[in-house]
Subunit: 279 residues, 2 copies
């Protein structure tokens, strides 16, 4: 019974190829990944990214193209726990990169459309010339765990139980009714069951922290219109450092930029989403 030891995240993104329909993969969205009445958008992106990884690696000409390198998701309707179907279509296969689309639906209603390019992150060259610096955070044991979150928040966010998330005390004033107004939330992240990070997990992490609008004094969930994640390196085992920030809330929308850094201090993912301001 290997499922007994499989991690919650691997169960969450598990897919079975459909025997009669090439490119189709079936899965089950678990109730444990809900937030604010829907299934978390990062988990949905990881499911779609996983389906495309399976589709590319099933073909000899793109067998090594396992990792999402860039993935864009457009959110069409709220996903709910239960069966999910992902239909993939390979658009182009190149030597280093392959591009495909994925349509994630439930009961015939499309939830998410994805366009993505996969490749082999381990084969990227080793040069790093970056001016970006990891966020300065107190050590995890001096940050604030989910157990301190307001009960109303946890009640709406079953997925928080899957996370060992420690937020920087400087960016959680909102939980005490004193949002900083700077539009920035940062902290440490790992999965509660110890499952180590990999590129698919980074897709979840890019949408895992509370919306930055909390830090602007706007409680409530912020529906994602679009989320693009660039995967820049395979993450090392251990803690991830995550920063979410916004600069431009305007016209009923805001952008949320995320950076994910691994334990070696490497910037492993950069993402941006466009979301609606909570009502």
């Amino acid at each position: 019974m290997t499922t007994a030891i499989r991690s919650e995240f691997d169960q969450g993104i598990a897919l079975t190829p459909h025997p009669d329909e090439p490119g189709r993969y079936d899965g089950e969205l678990g109730a444990g990944w809900q937030i604010g009445g829907g299934v978390n958008g990062g988990l949905l992106l990881a499911v779609a990214g996983h389906a495309l990884s399976l589709a590319h690696t099933a073909r000899p000409e793109s067998a090594g193209h396992t990792d999402p390198v860039s993935i864009s998701g457009y959110y069409l309707s709220a996903a709910t726990p239960g069966p999910v179907t992902v239909r993939t279509d390979v658009v182009r296969t190149g030597r280093k990169l392959s591009t495909g689309t994925a349509a994630l639906s439930q009961d015939g209603v499309e939830r998410l459309r994805v366009l993505a390019t996969h490749g082999d992150l381990a084969a990227h060259d080793g040069e790093v010339r970056t001016t970006a610096a990891p966020p300065q955070l107190p050590p995890p044991d001096q940050c604030v765990g989910v157990e301190h979150a307001p009960k109303e928040l946890i009640a709406q966010a079953a997925l928080l139980e899957r996370f060992d998330m420690r937020l920087d005390p400087a960016s959680i004033g909102w939980a005490l009714g004193q949002p900083s107004g700077s539009g920035r939330i940062q902290g440490w992240f790992r999965l509660a069951d110890g499952r180590e990070p990999d590129p698919l997990l980074l897709l979840l992490v890019a949408d895992a922290l509370p919306p930055v609008t909390f830090d602007l004094g706007m409680p409530g969930w912020a529906p994602t219109v679009e989320l693009t994640v660039h995967l820049r390196a395979k993450p090392a085992p251990g803690w991830l450092r995550v920063v979410h920030a916004t600069r431009n809330l305007a016209g009923g929308y805001f952008e949320e930029d995320a950076e994910v850094w691994d334990e070696t201090g490497r910037l492993v993912a950069q993402s941006r989403q466009l979301a609606r301001v909570p009502r």
Copy 2:
């Protein structure tokens, strides 16, 4: 003969609905939009965004969804001057936003796949709470026009003749063999023929400045893997201010973030692309 007075940009993105194939639009990529041996990626994105705008506005249920709100392009092969076909598919029509895909091809070879959400930017609410500030630039007449660009650059970039672009003297050290190393290029932008900005033009502008890698001492063209533009407001007439910047060149790729500000000081577009480091 209205074409005689139509702007170069409107000619560049002009499309004709195919009489027998719903959702198909045909156009012509002009030689005047070439750069580094291909047609500029921002122009291609504007062609695809225009096709989706036509597709949405042709349907009564999405008639007002004229403007791209978020658009993601995945670049598959280099486009060349000549006929182009755009096949659109509407994925979902909502009350405020409609989502669709566009495949741009030449002679049966796909150049660009696009996933985008359109809406009506004029209908967005008026609230602006932004911490972003426009770039500080010397006035246009104290910036450096294209006429001062190295001849080798202009020879490879016919599209520069379409632009009235004035770069900040502080960010053109690379043109004199002294790149600043900061990974930032900024300046003023308008079309040479005086055509005023609109949302489709902003898609071009997001990819109009020289690659930021020039400022890192890496000449050569940087092929775009993926480019997403968020349109945040309709631009006012007049000059645009544009900033391109990168923070993380690593593993053979870099991100290029762009901001476009209009003459009223409003942040009208934010974009990010993932591109390959020039060889």
